[in-house]
Amino acid sequence: MQMEDRIQGEVLLVKPLEERIDASMAGEFEARMIGWIRTGNRRLVLDLSGVFFIDSSGLGAIASALKTLGDQGRIAICGVSKTVKNLFQITRLDQLFVMCSSAEEAVEILNDWTEEDHGKEGRQSD
């Protein structure tokens, strides 16, 4: 699975370069996300602007990354298409992540995030 990653301040920006995140690659996707968290990344932006299809396995991988992170950090998601956004809403996962309209906005929000922000779940910024 092709993914791009780069550090911006305190934030790790991750961008899958696959059009689909489905059950055939969810395991690898999850392992990569958890690997970044276990190596100390606490503020992650997941840029889904290149992803046109995601199924429940892909959602489960993202949820698993969040569980691994626990309350030690935050994950922001940006670049979701209308259809993928609808899926996040149906499954209520949009309530667990910082949902942003752009990578720049997501990076800015997470760079400003402090541990005192714990408990402010589901910030919507679009």
Binding site: D22, D55, T83, L87
Partner: protein, 136 residues
């Protein structure tokens, strides 16, 4: 029930997750030719993919070498998908809402949420999940 004038196609894949996107693309193509919006088309593709994933992962315990069959039937006012396998049967269609932070178990919930009718039955060793979307 099959009616004169219905249009139908049957697709079969081997039980490997790497094959599922091919069925998804076929469903997307079919839905693109009927009066479904791009969002509804995505939802139909998603439901079929979820149903086939379930057949592979649960009915066949992720073992390759088995057939998963999809039948798509177009009626004037609905589209019907039937996913068939000959593996382990589901004991029940899980209707409960999954935990918000669950890492598994959203597939059937998504299907129930997005489809108008969902039924499951087993007959002579074949499990069939039927999903119907109406319009008009």
């Amino acid at each position: 029930m099959e009616k004169k004038g219905d249009k139908a196609i049957k697709l079969t894949i081997e039980s490997r997750l790497e094959n599922v996107f091919l069925v998804g693309l076929a469903v997307k193509g079919i839905c693109g030719h009927i009066r479904l919006s791009s969002e509804e088309t995505y939802n139909m593709e998603l439901c079929v993919v979820e149903a086939i994933n379930n057949a592979i992962e649960h009915a066949y315990s992720s073992r390759p070498g088995h057939d998963v069959e999809l039948t798509v039937r177009l009626d004037p006012n609905q589209i019907r998908f039937q996913v068939c396998d000959k593996g382990k049967s589901l004991t029940a269609l899980r209707l409960q809402t999954p935990e918000i932070d669950a890492t598994h178990g959203r597939g059937l919930y998504i299907i129930h949420t997005l489809m108008d009718e969902v039924t499951y039955h087993t007959s002579q060793g074949t499990n069939t999940l039927t999903m119907i979307k109406h319009w008009g």
